[in-house]
């Protein structure tokens, strides 16, 4: 279970990669941050990741692309999408496709906590 408590953050925005891991660690999670989907897929964290916090819009492979890729690889990692792009139509579509949550930046620590709780409940 320890292994599964790893939270991986994939976001091209550096400030997110800097700030979010600290907060997650405060929550008590182990955290790995990646600047792109490709980097994440290439790492050995895919199997250990209990929850993937994934940015939607990224250069190269986008968040949903990564989600599809993971499903293809039968890696069923609960995904919490984060996006700075407040598009209300996106959230239901993502949830429908299996995402645990879709948080619009900026989000509160409470909302993040709830999403993580939900993710780990799923797993």
């Amino acid at each position: 279970m320890v292994i599964r408590s790893l939270v991986s953050v994939v976001d091209d925005d550096e400030s997110v990669r800097e700030s979010l891991p600290d907060l997650l660690r405060e929550f008590g999670f182990a955290v790995q941050a990646f600047s792109s989907a490709e980097e994440f897929l290439a790492s050995d964290c895919v199997c250990q990741t209990g929850c993937l916090i994934l940015d939607i819009a990224m250069p190269g492979m986008s968040g949903p692309d990564l989600q599809r890729e993971l499903m293809l690889r039968r890696k069923e990692i609960p995904i919490v999408f984060i996006t700075a792009h407040r598009d209300e139509t996106v959230r239901p579509r993502l949830l429908e496709q299996g995402a645990v949550e879709c948080l619009f930046k900026p989000f509160s620590d409470t909302a993040l906590r709830e999403a993580l709780n939900a993710a780990f409940r799923v797993s």
Binding site: S15, V16, S19, D22, A57, P59, A84, H85
Partner: protein, 817 residues
């Protein structure tokens, strides 16, 4: 003896006298004294001379002297005054009395009255007119041989003698003429004046000089110049008048023709209507050539029909039936003359066979006309303008002098018609020009530099809001110009005066008296006319409305640019939110972390400080984003600054990154670091870059079969201008659409407003740059713009130093000022 001798001496039939050898008279007999009325004492010595006719004294004394000198007997003649004042001719005969030694001691003389003898002898010396036996012979020998009518008249006006020419001219014998009343033979109109002049001359005894008409035997009156000389007897009394009548009829006629011709030409010059002139011409010929009727018909503009010219004395029915006839050989003599361009003489219409198809001759005969001479009226270029016709009510053939007359008057008619046609053409062309000037609001001027002779077209007066015909002074004109422009104009005139080749094109600002402003676009050049005078000629177009609409258009463009910005704003809302939300997200996350670190036990101050620092950084980042957006989307007036295009592009890319990512576009930016700055409005230029960027993204929206590559490049181009290029691998465009891409509201996108590219182009053009598009060799398109690098130092845009100034430069001056 003494007394007897004295009685004898007094009884002698003569005036007896004796004189001393020195000539002094020492004795006069009684007869002498009785005759002269002088006393012996008065007549003694030289006193006797007072009785001699003054004219005769010098001759008499000279003769008397020479007789005395000769010492021989001698004779003298002189007029001696009688006691009653009458002078009578006397023969003075004298003989010397000699003493024994041969010396003359005395001269004895006798004077005898020879008055009667001299008078009897006089005809031999008197003028011919005083010698009745000689008079007629003498008069005829001279009078019959001179080419004039000669007559001798008594002062009472009775005919005394006439020469042969008079008899022939009047067709009357001398006796018949003698029987005529005074003044008979003169034209009734002239008679009163002739008689008055005659009376005046007779009373004053002055030569008589008069022009009048005399009736010839056949009833024709001819003009004569009559001169009369008084012939006097020896007493100075006028006994006869010699009258000489010289025939001046031909001269008079020529003068009358000349006067008529002059009057007609004056009418032509005076701009009378062609029908007025031709009417006057017909009437004049009719008055000059008695018994004729004249008409002028004109060839219409098409050259195929006759139209009315003038026919003041011909029946309307006759002339109306000629008007409208075709110009050919059959329709009548005038049509024929015009058609053949040669004279047509119909001397007797009763036997005329031509023009049968149109039954012209019967028609003319029905109007009482029996002869017609028609002569074509030709222009100087040889084109037939019409025909001049003379009609008679009896058969007639033109005489040589009539032919001359016809030739003369067809010539005048041709001048009148040609002048009228030229005037009409000129008026039409002037009207065209005036209309064109009015429609295009363009006036024209001419200025003779040396004399300041200024001529304006009507439209120019209107533009300057001056009453047409107002005297144009340089001061008046200058008062309408802006002071700066007035200086320019003065300078141009000076240059022209100095012999420079002056040519300029420039926009001027005019101040109207009511305070309004007009803009006029002026093109002018100076050169020398055929007389070598320097003339400045120019055209002035009122472009006020265009200027105002340009300004209005500029305003609309900036509104449109704003609309386009706002449109982009709508489309970019998402990315704005993204840009702002990104740092906000960092801030909130950091703040949460910070709070948790501080709330931990023990509190993690070091971590809290680090997160707080990151919070501040992200806050600044958010603030930067907002500032940039505000600058980009705020509606601001144009500002001019030095812009680094690479830097400006970087900012635009920074704002668009998320959109680029979302569009899955691979961006390659090749921004030159050493780019020279350009001058312009930074925000507007960024607007253009953003437009091009968004345009490229949109063009690649549907592309899935190839990489969506976007290249943004800034560089210095071949002409040392700064160029920005945006190259995409999108849908591209058809080459034929290249021109329309930049039209406002042209779009290939369903969602776009189509304003972006047209606004972009107007922004670049307002920066004096160029924006264009070209299809790529491969897929996609390349949009580029280039701008001049910012000039170093101050540029001389006023252009006073250059003679020819391009219109754009002139406009720039306007803007600057």
């Amino acid at each position: 003896m003494e007394n007897e001798l004295s009685r004898v001496v007094d009884a002698l039939p003569g005036l007896v006298w004796t004189a001393l050898p020195d000539g002094r008279i020492d004795f006069l007999n009684q007869r002498w004294c009785e005759y002269s009325g002088l006393g012996v004492d008065e007549a003694h010595g030289p006193g006797w001379q007072t009785a001699i006719h003054p004219e005769d004294i010098p001759g008499l004394l000279e003769r008397w002297q020479s007789i005395r000198a000769s010492g021989e007997p001698g004779e003298m003649e002189a007029r001696l005054r009688r006691f009653d004042g009458e002078y009578r001719w006397f023969l003075f005969r004298t003989c010397p009395l000699v003493d024994t030694s041969g010396l003359v001691v005395k001269w004895c003389g006798i004077s005898t009255d020879i008055e009667d003898r001299r008078r009897a002898e006089e005809p031999l010396h008197a003028p011919w007119w005083l010698r009745s036996s000689e008079r007629e012979r003498h008069f005829r020998s001279i009078g019959d041989s001179i080419p004039a009518l000669g007559a001798l008249m008594t002062p009472a006006g009775e005919v005394e003698l006439v020469n042969r020419q008079v008899v022939e001219y009047f067709g009357a014998t001398l006796e018949e003429l003698k029987g005529r009343a005074i003044g008979d033979g003169f034209h009734p109109d002239d008679r009163p004046d002739v008689l008055a002049a005659w009376r005046e001359a007779v009373e004053a005894g002055q030569p008589y000089d008069f022009e009048s008409r005399l009736r010839r035997a056949d009833g024709v009156y001819r003009w004569f110049h009559t001169r009369g000389f008084p012939l006097r007897d020896t007493e100075g009394r006028i006994v006869l008048w010699y009258l000489l009548h010289t025939d001046i009829d031909d001269r008079k006629r020529a003068e009358a023709l000349l006067a008529g011709e002059k009057r007609l030409l004056e009418m032509v010059a005076g701009g009378h209507s062609v029908s007025e002139i031709l009417g006057a011409l017909c009437r004049f010929v009719e008055s000059t050539v008695s018994g004729c009727y004249c008409s002028v018909v004109l060839v219409d503009r098409s050259g195929t029909r006759l139209e009315h010219g003038a026919a003041p004395s011909l029946p309307a029915g006759f002339i109306n039936s000629i008007i409208g006839r075709p110009v050919n050989v059959d329709s009548g003599p005038c049509a024929m003359a015009a058609y053949l361009n040669e004279q047509v003489i119909a001397a007797d219409l009763t036997s005329e066979t031509r023009w049968g198809p149109y039954a012209w001759s019967p028609m003319a005969l029905a109007h009482g006309l029996q002869a017609c001479w028609s002569t074509p009226i030709s222009s100087t270029a040889g084109k037939v303008l019409g025909a001049f016709a003379i009609y008679y009510d009896q058969p007639r053939t033109p005489t040589t002098s009539e032919q001359r007359l016809i030739e003369q008057f067809t010539h005048i008619a041709s001048i009148a018609v040609e002048r009228a046609q030229n005037d009409a053409a000129l008026k039409r062309s002037e009207a065209f020009l005036a209309e064109a000037q009015r429609l295009s609001s363009t006036g024209s001027f001419s200025h003779f530099v040396a004399t300041d002779e200024i001529t304006w077209s009507g439209e120019l007066y209107r533009i300057f809001e001056l009453d047409e015909g107002v005297p144009l002074t340089k001061e008046l004109i200058s008062s309408r110009f802006d002071p700066e422009d007035a200086v320019f104009v003065r300078e141009m005139i000076e240059r022209a005066r100095d012999g420079d080749v002056v040519e300029f094109e420039r926009e001027f600002r005019l101040q109207m008296p009511n305070g309004s402003v007009k803009y006029v676009h002026t093109v002018a050049h100076a050169n020398r006319d055929q007389n070598g005078r320097l003339e400045c000629i120019g055209a002035v177009q009122d472009v006020t409305e265009r200027r105002l609409s340009e300004e209005a258009l500029g305003k609309v463009r900036s509104e449109l640019a704003h609309v386009a910005r706002v449109t982009s704003l709508g489309a970019l809302t998402a990315s704005i939110a993204h840009e702002v939300n990104q740092p906000l997200s960092g801030i909130i996350t950091n703040a949460s972390t910070c709070l948790r670190m501080l709330a931990a036990d023990p509190p993690n101050f070091e971590g809290a400080r680090e997160t707080a620092r990151r919070t501040i950084r992200d806050g600044n980042r958010a603030s930067d984003v907002i500032t940039r957006l505000r600058a980009l989307f705020a509606k601001k007036d144009t500002t001019t600054e030095s812009v680094d295009l690479s830097e400006a592009t970087r900012e635009v890319i920074a704002l668009s990154l998320s959109e680029l990512q979302r569009s899955r576009v691979i961006l390659r930016s090749e921004l030159a670091d050493d780019l020279p700055p350009v001058t312009g409005d930074r925000v507007q230029l960024q607007q253009v870059i953003l437009n091009l960027l968004r345009n490229a993204l949109d063009a690649m929206g549907g592309v899935d079969d190839r990489p969506r590559k976007l290249v943004i490049r800034t560089e210095r181009d071949e002409d040392d201008r700064v160029r920005l290029t945006v190259q995409d691998t999108g849908a591209g465009f058809e080459p034929q659409a290249a021109g329309r891409l930049f039209e406002a509201f042209y779009t290939t996108k369903s969602g776009g407003m189509g304003i972006g590219l047209s606004v972009s182009r107007s922004i670049i053009e307002s920066h004096h740059g160029r924006l264009w598009a070209a299809p790529n060799d491969g897929p996609g398109a390349t949009f580029s713009f280039s701008l001049s690098r910012a000039a170093k130092g101050v540029t001389d845009t006023h252009g006073l130093g250059v003679i020819r100034m391009p219109v754009t430069a002139a406009r720039r001056v306007m803007r600057n000022s």
